[in-house]
Structures are given as structure tokens and as C-alpha cells.
Amino acid sequence: MAERVRIRSMMPPGHVRAPAYLRGKTGVIERPLGIFANPEKLAYRLPAEKRPLYRVRFTMAELWGDAAERPADTLDAEIYAHWLEPLED
């Protein structure tokens, strides 16, 4: 997994744990969290495959641009691997 990642800009319906405000945004992997049953399946009692989960850190500048209160403040969120697009440095 590349250190820099972009959250995929998908808009699927259903029980999705990647918040819309992070989609299309670029961050860095803060730490891997292990593998967990995919909640997008679990929520519907479907057979849920195990997926790697990561903590991704974004700067407030990346999320909110000029509207950021303090650009260097950060936001961390847990994002499943299938929502992450690895980026070249």
C-alpha cells in the first residue's frame, strides 16, 4: 500500500463507511488497522469478505481549501482498502 492515497470518488448506495466529504481527497496512511469484515455487506447480512482497514490522515487544507481554520490541522478517518487509490510520490 502506497503511503499517499486518494479516496475513490464512487457514490454507491447503501451502508458505506467512507464519508462523502472525504471522497476524491488525498491523504497519507497513518497506520494499518488489520482486516475486518466488510461492513457494506455485513449491514445486509450478506457474506462479508475480510478487507484491510487503514487510518488515513488528511490536512484541513486538503479538505476545505481556503476555508480551513488552520490548514495544518488534520483529520483522521478509517477507510477500507477498496476505497483507496494508491498515488505515486
Partner: protein, 216 residues
């Protein structure tokens, strides 16, 4: 007299001058009816009992921020425990005897250079096993949306003005982790026993919307 408002009509008011809360004479919602139906079926079929349901409610109600405060106090008093807490907060809490179930817990440490605050934008994820039920504001759309967009303004409304040289880290509990803030130990409390330290740890200081109390 604080409640003497001669310009107001006091009809429908309590003797102390406050309006009575309206009775909840509304129909059950779809989900309320569903919950009652499923619960009654489970009891009828012998899968559970009313007593077991009540026991579970009692267990949920008995958890309080005092559990989290005990964990924080030990981390302040015992550097080896603090290292274990930051490495795996779930295991460190279990080591103290807290039943935190399968919860995956991450402790995030406040330092002179970094302040942490917890939010769940998607719903109301909260470390209930250690802190009890979340406060109502934690579940409000205002807190959930504003804490990622303008967290410093939100903290300021809680009475916490962060200096500009402190980095703020917001943690959105989006999936399987739960978070607890390890606040900085108040100055002047070195060597205090854990129970005295725990009395300084507030619920909000473990969410990050406040700081521990200063020693009296």
C-alpha cells in the same frame, strides 16, 4: 423572585412557573412498533426474556465516564501502563478489568503541541464500554458536521480556545475503531494516587471537547 413574571399567563404552568411537558400522545413510529413486535416474539418463543432485556439495559446504564477516568488516571500514574494504552488501548483497558467486549480502542494523546478531538460524522460511534452512553450533543448533526469543518470554532463554544501553535487532530470514527483522548496530566499533580487523579478527568476531556479539571 426569579419566576415572578406578572406579564405572563401562568395557566398550564407548574407551581414554579415552568410549562408542563406535553404528554407523548403520538402514535408509535414504524421502528418503535417493529422493536416491540420483535421483542415480544423473541420472548414468546423463549429466545430471551423481559428480565434479560432489562439486565442488558441496566448493564448499559451502569457504564459511566468513571471507567474511562480510571484508565486515564492509571496512564498518568504509571508510564509503563501509558505505553501499553497507546499501543493497544483495548488490551490495556481489559487488563484493568473493564469488560469492553470486542471493541477496538485507540487512545490518542494530548501533548503541549497536539490536541485531539473525537467525532463520528456517519452516526454516533462512541467508546460506550468505557464512557457510557454518549451525550445528546455528540449525536447532533451540528456537532457531527461542524467538528470536521470548523473544529476550533466548536471547541471555542465548549470554552476551549486552542492556541494557534497547537495542532488540532480530529478523529472521525468511521468504521471499526473507537477512540478515547488521553488528556495531558494537569500540572501540580505528580505523585497523586490514582483515585485523586481520576476525579480530575471529565467525560469531555476524554472526547477532546474539554480539559481535565485543575487541582483544587
Amino acid at each position: 423572585m426569579p419566576h415572578d413574571h406578572p406579564e405572563h399567563h401562568h395557566e398550564g404552568m407548574s407551581p414554579s412557573g415552568h410549562p408542563y411537558r406535553a404528554d407523548d400522545d403520538t402514535a408509535l413510529s414504524y421502528w418503535q412498533a417493529m422493536e416491540i413486535a420483535v421483542r415480544e416474539l423473541l420472548i414468546e418463543k423463549g429466545e430471551t426474556s423481559a428480565e434479560a432485556v432489562q439486565r442488558q439495559i441496566d448493564a448499559m446504564d451502569s457504564r459511566s465516564p468513571a471507567n474511562g477516568a480510571a484508565v486515564i488516571a492509571r496512564a498518568w500514574a504509571d508510564p509503563a501502563f501509558k505505553a501499553r494504552l497507546l499501543d493497544n488501548a483495548g488490551d490495556a483497558s481489559r487488563e484493568m478489568g473493564f469488560d469492553i467486549g470486542p471493541m477496538h480502542l485507540i487512545a490518542v494523546e494530548n501533548t503541549p503541541a497536539v490536541h485531539n478531538v473525537i467525532v463520528c460524522t456517519l452516526c454516533s460511534c462512541y467508546p460506550r464500554n468505557l464512557l457510557g452512553l454518549p451525550p445528546d450533543w455528540y449525536k447532533s448533526r451540528a456537532y457531527r458536521s461542524r467538528t470536521v469543518r470548523e473544529p476550533r470554532a466548536v471547541l471555542s463554544e465548549f470554552g476551549l480556545d486552542l492556541p494557534d501553535d497547537v495542532t488540532l487532530r480530529v478523529h472521525d470514527s468511521t468504521a471499526d475503531m473507537r477512540y478515547i483522548v488521553l488528556p495531558a496530566q494537569p500540572p501540580g499533580t505528580d505523585g497523586w494516587p490514582e483515585d485523586r487523579l481520576a476525579a480530575l478527568v471529565t467525560r469531555d476531556s476524554m472526547i477532546g471537547t474539554g480539559l481535565p479539571k485543575a487541582p483544587a
